[in-house]
Point group: C2
Chain length 250, copies 2
DNA sequence: CGCCCCGTTGAGGAGAGTCAATGGCTGTGG
DNA sequence: CCACAGCCATTGACTCTCCTCAACGGGGCG
């Protein structure tokens, strides 16, 4: 839960009482090997998942085998809040590294939210952030060049790691193959490879062993059109928050 | 509110009491001309919007003027549920036809949801559906050809119109220019024009005056890879629903 | 009537895809 | 301990989808 709490705290002040509530939720912990399938299309969803460790991808497959990775799931991310209403999955989730997830019954999770306005607010933030990431993904693949897409993705994943509590050392351990990056960005692995090589030759990034070092952050951000405000959602007072007394609809 | 209720009823049984609750919400009704700006980036959001009539687009602009339309907003859609937590808009919303929207203070809306589990469930569905539409959009622009994208978008918009209560007459009034379709699908207006012309020549659709007639639904769906289950989320019992007694986490 | 917006069409260009070969790395089995 | 297989990144050569630039024309509206 540590990384999840780190993410939530990025947006909402949480006291120890609230983190205790979360930790106290009934749960089990599941471990997976790289390439395992965590969620299959059509599976009923009655549980909420928290990524404790490792990376996973959420993706759809077309009939002819084309794959689109909708987004990456990193430590601290929670997913299938949709489960709260017991829908069916319309996509797959696979691990791409060894992964451990904490599985919480949706019902118990809901009850806890009902008892803590702050927690409810925090998870609302998380949901908003997730949607924001999806929208950014749309802009990225809809209107950016290969170069821009890759630069942008690197910066996004780096920032998400920071928000989840990772060290700010300008490096990103990216456990995704060229193929996965391609399927996330609507490109081919060949072209991803070429483009990353080019970024490397331009001394914007360096790579070794699946770790990317951001060498020239400013230039990279300029190329990507990466906005500083992205995911730095302004920490405002919350309508859910019982302490919020100054909410004035304009 | 009629179209919104039609949409919600597609997923959740709502009694008259609940629809009355919604209608009774304090609100104002705003009217806009085509091309007006409804939501601007950076605006604080403290209200929830219901599209009563007309179409709008939600989009982002890049520095150099490139535009990505994230999605279309149709009658019955509600948006900026994010407002519930008073975030700032990270995108624009413009009308593309004459539009009337009902504006409800977020706080009052929240209070009503708190008092009606069914309404809360219904809007949760709406949010899930919205996210599902975003994911579909990612798959569409990430991994489909121009032909497939356009066919798929037509079928999606048609289905959304049906869900909102429109007549099932195989026609879609699509008040979007080639330019808008292009900006939604990650293409150029020229190529959209060519591709639509080709669909027309193949007798898959016909067009006149901004109305598209679906001539060969089956073929069009095959080309688009449009899945029948899409947006036809199975109506299941709801965890929120007080009448739900058989919820068994597996 | 004439303007402007929009859709269409043509010709040529470019970014990304396809096909294919190479080579490094890792893990495994003889 | 070495040989070999499999996976993955890289690179080259060629192709194709989609883009760019440009011209034309129809329909609505002042």
């Amino acid at each position: 839960m540590r990384t999840t709490l780190s993410r939530l705290r990025y947006y909402v002040d949480l006291a120890d009482t609230e983190s205790t509530l979360l930790e106290a939720l009934p749960h089990r912990v599941d471990s997976f090997s790289p390439g395992d399938n965590l969620v299959k299309i059509g599976n009923p969803l009655t549980e909420v998942f928290f990524v404790e460790d490792g990376w996973a991808i959420r993706f759809r497959l077309l009939d002819d085998g084309r794959r689109q990775i909708v987004n990456f799931m990193l430590p601290g991310d929670c997913f299938d809040l949709q489960a709260l209403i017991s829908a069916q999955a319309d996509h797959f989730v696979d691990s791409i590294t060894p992964v451990t997830i904490r599985v919480v019954p949706a019902r118990a999770f809901l009850e806890t939210l009902a008892n803590s306005a702050r927690l409810a607010a925090a998870f609302w933030w998380a949901a908003i952030q997730e949607e924001s990431i999806l929208r950014e993904q749309i802009v990225r693949i809809g209107r950016r060049s290969a170069r821009e897409r890759i630069a942008h993705l690197i910066l996004e994943l780096y920032r998400r790691r920071i928000i989840a509590g990772a060290e700010e050392d300008e490096t990103l351990e990216l456990p995704a193959t060229r193929d996965m990056i391609a399927d996330a960005l609507g490109l081919t692995s060949v072209h991803v490879s070429r483009t990353i090589t080019e970024l490397r030759r331009n001394d914007l990034i360096s790579t070794q062993n699946g770790t990317i070092r951001i060498v020239e952050r400013a230039k990279l951000a300029a190329i990507a059109g990466f906005e500083d405000s992205y995911l730095h959602i302004q920490r405002t007072r919350l309508m859910f928050d019982p302490n919020n007394t100054i909410n004035t609809p304009h």
